[in-house]
Every structure is written in structure tokens, then in C-alpha cells.
């Protein structure tokens, strides 16, 4: 199998030599793949804008030893234009791409769920259906769930005692009951916990109706949860516009 075809979302591009770029793509069937796009930085490149981050593309790739080579690319959905036209969408979207990249650290390990989740989140973000920051937080919580770190915002994350509970312990994986509560747990507003639960399950009615301070609190907790599990900083989170 030297030539193969797959669809994927472009996560990151990086300059290579005079006019080439290395692109990192989260594909549907082959997981995250890194490939060389030759001559893509020239204005007359036949790839043009197709291989920019946020693009959902149909690719033909030539398998190489360490890096593959892009031989053909067709746009499936140009999410980039809808995202880049709004600065808040752009910063939230970039944080989503970086999260997706971190969660699929091993190359060529199939991650269909992560791909579908990311493509769906980018579609929502580009369409401007919800506040960008909420889309980002919802995506992060769900992507972590798919990766095996599903938080719990109803039952106690330690003993499973039915909720609702008041305290949130990031290290324990969500809300904790008074008995399990480790020292230093956060005690956010009950509406914040309700918002987090809504974001995790995709209950947009509740999420859209939430208030500013609750959203900020939920974002802070989501970011803390993400950094805790990834064990390294997600750089673009610092620049996300609230």
C-alpha cells in the first residue's frame, strides 16, 4: 500500500525548506498522519488554500518512510473561512486543533471517534451557532471522554455516590461527595456544575442559557482538567478570547 486515500482535518502546518510544508492531519481511518505538501507555499500551487488548518479535505497520500507525501487534495468543507472571519472563533478553534493533536500523540493509530468529534465541533464553530468558548469547552470535555478520561459532573467521581455534589476535584475526575472530597477541591457555583454537565452531554439549551461568570468558571475548570490529563501545556489556551 504505497498510495492511499483518506479524508481528514488539517491540524497544523509547519514550513519546510523553500516552498514546502509539513502538514499534520487527523484522518478518518489512519489516525494522525504527518505528510509533506510540496510547493504549497508558492502562490501558483495547485493545493492552494486546501491544506490550511481547519480544512476538511479528501487526500491522496504516498506512503513514505517517515513522512508521507500529499499527491492530491480536494476540499470537502472549508471550515477555515467561517472560523478565521471572527477572532474569538479563530482562537477557540486553534485550541481545539491543538487538543486534538495532543490527544492523538501516536501517529497512524486509528482514531475515528476523535476525527468525527473534531469535524463536528469545527462545523458548529464555523457556522457560529453557539458562543465559541462554549463550543471549545464542550469539545474538550468530550474529546477527553473519548480518550478515556470522561469526567463525572453528577455522581461522585470516586465512590459513585449519586449527586448532585458541590465540590470539584480535577485530579479525581469531576465532582466529589463530602466524604471523598480531597483537600484543595474547588467549590464552584452549582450552576457551573450544571453547565459543565450540559457541555459534556451536548445539552445546548442549558449551555446557551448560562451566564457569563458561570461560563468563565466552567472554562477554567475545563482547562485545568485538560492540562491535568495531558500533563503538558496547551499553548493556544492562553490566547483564547473569552
Amino acid at each position: 500500500m504505497s498510495l492511499y486515500r483518506d479524508e481528514g482535518v488539517v491540524l497544523r502546518t509547519q514550513k519546510l525548506g523553500e516552498a514546502d510544508r509539513i502538514i499534520s492531519v487527523l484522518t478518518r481511518h489512519h489516525g494522525r498522519v504527518r505528510a509533506v505538501a510540496k510547493g504549497v507555499r508558492r502562490t501558483r500551487s495547485r493545493f492552494g488554500a486546501r491544506l490550511e488548518p481547519f480544512m476538511l479535505v479528501d487526500l491522496q497520500l504516498y506512503e513514505g518512510r517517515s513522512l508521507d507525501t500529499v499527491t492530491q487534495a480536494e476540499t470537502i468543507a472549508p471550515y477555515g473561512s467561517g472560523i478565521v472571519s471572527d477572532y474569538a472563533r479563530y482562537t477557540s478553534g486553534t485550541a481545539m486543533l491543538e487538543t486534538a493533536e495532543r490527544l492523538t500523540e501516536t501517529e497512524r493509530e486509528p482514531a475515528v471517534q476523535q476525527f468525527l468529534l473534531l469535524a463536528g465541533a469545527l462545523r458548529t464553530l464555523a457556522a457560529g451557532e453557539h458562543v465559541p468558548r462554549l463550543v471549545l469547552d464542550s469539545y474538550v470535555l468530550r474529546a477527553l471522554s473519548v480518550a478515556g478520561w470522561a469526567p463525572s459532573f453528577t455522581d461522585c467521581a470516586r465512590c459513585g455516590a449519586p449527586g448532585p455534589h458541590r465540590a470539584v476535584a480535577v485530579a479525581a475526575g469531576g465532582v466529589v461527595c463530602p466524604q471523598c472530597r480531597p483537600p484543595g477541591s474547588a467549590a464552584p457555583h452549582p450552576a457551573t456544575i450544571a453547565l459543565l454537565a450540559a457541555l459534556l452531554t451536548g445539552d445546548w439549551e442549558t449551555a446557551d442559557a448560562s451566564e457569563g461568570p458561570r461560563r468563565r468558571e466552567a472554562s477554567g475548570l475545563t482547562a485545568a482538567y485538560l492540562q491535568w490529563h495531558l500533563e503538558r501545556q496547551v499553548r493556544s489556551l492562553r490566547l483564547v478570547e473569552r
Binding site: R44, A49, R50, G80, V84, S85, Y87, T94
Partner: protein, 199 residues
């Protein structure tokens, strides 16, 4: 491996962009065989560039003095300011001979994934420059890629409330190309920005 100094030269040349070990060796031997006067001239140019070149205090372009040639030129239109990412872009625009205003070099584009935000660019300097009220039009000439577009969106949002005319360079089809090879986005932009033909 060659003896000491020759190998040192090859190693140093090999660190330059686009120069591999084989090309480094070729350049090194070319230098060894050329007239010592030519080599000294090259050395002098290298020393001069590292010692003399700095960034223009107004626009951020590379310059041999405190202010660059363009900022010092009184014939340039002070009412129009063209915002670019890199000093290389100034040269590219200058080559067109179409633009008679002044420049502002940002020093990059907003790229959160690389950890580069608006505070890491020369945005504050741009806003300070506009305070005098001399500038009436801003041309956003950042790269037509994702980071460049995002930077333009950010700047437009920041500068519009200041009552300036903010324009963005047009995107569309490259001159001398084939329509069928244009990607959907570029072709779409070309349609958006089509113009009336006055015949």
C-alpha cells in the same frame, strides 16, 4: 573529514538555510580557490551586516540607521500605511512600484498554536503610530493564509473604531495561471472581489 579550519568552515556553511553538507563543501572549496580580495569583501559584508543593521524605530523594517529609507523619504504618502508581517514583504511590495505610502512591519502573524499572540507582535507600536492622526488609511497586507487572515481580522476589529479606512489586499487568481487548477476558496474569493470592466 577535512583538517581543522576547513572542516570548521564547512560546518558553519552547513548551518545556513538550504545548504546541505555537500553544498557546504562545494562553497568552502570555491572560497579556498577564489581571489583573497573577493573573500575579504564577503567577510566585510558579513561583519557590516551584523554590526550595522538594526530595525527601524518607526516601522520595524531592517535599516542601517535609526529610521529606514522609506520612513525618512518625504515624498512618501504619510496618510496611507501598509501593514505587513515581515521585512521581506516590504521588498515584495516595493517591487510592484504601485504603493507610495509607508509601511509597518508586525514581525510575524498571530498563531496561538505556536504561542504567538497579539502582544508578541508590534501591534502596540502600530496603535501608537496612529495616534498622531496623520494616517487615514490602513492597508492590511498580511499573508493570505490562515494566520495572516486571522491577524487581519484582529487588526480590523482593533482599528475600525479609531475611525480609519481599513482595507485588505484582494485575493484571487494568480496572473498567468489556469482557472481549472485554482482551489475552491481562491476561486470563490476571485468571484467575491470581481470588478467592473470599463471598456
Amino acid at each position: 573529514m577535512y583538517e581543522g579550519v576547513v572542516q570548521d568552515l564547512i560546518d558553519e556553511l552547513g548551518r545556513l538555510p538550504g545548504v546541505g553538507p555537500k553544498s557546504a563543501q562545494r562553497i568552502a572549496f570555491h572560497l579556498l580557490q577564489s581571489d583573497p580580495v573577493d573573500v575579504r569583501r564577503l567577510v566585510a559584508a558579513l561583519v557590516e551586516v551584523t554590526e550595522k543593521v538594526r530595525f527601524c524605530e518607526l516601522c520595524g523594517n531592517v535599516s542601517a540607521e535609526d529610521q529606514c529609507r522609506i520612513c525618512r523619504d518625504p515624498r512618501r504618502d504619510a496618510a496611507v500605511l501598509c501593514v505587513v508581517e515581515e521585512p521581506k514583504d516590504v521588498v515584495a511590495i516595493e517591487k510592484t512600484r504601485e504603493f507610495r505610502g509607508r509601511y509597518h512591519v508586525l514581525g510575524g502573524a498571530i498563531s496561538p498554536i505556536e504561542g504567538i499572540g497579539p502582544d508578541d507582535l508590534r501591534v502596540k507600536e502600530l496603535v501608537t503610530r496612529l495616534a498622531s492622526g496623520e494616517v487615514t488609511e490602513i492597508i492590511l497586507a498580511t499573508d493570505p493564509n490562515l494566520e495572516g487572515e486571522a491577524t487581519a481580522t484582529y487588526l480590523a476589529r482593533l482599528l475600525k473604531p479609531m475611525g480609519l479606512k481599513v482595507t485588505r489586499l484582494a485575493s484571487g487568481l494568480p496572473v498567468g495561471g489556469d482557472l481549472e487548477y485554482a482551489d475552491e476558496l481562491t476561486l470563490g474569493r476571485a468571484f467575491e472581489g470581481r470588478r467592473l470592466l470599463d471598456v
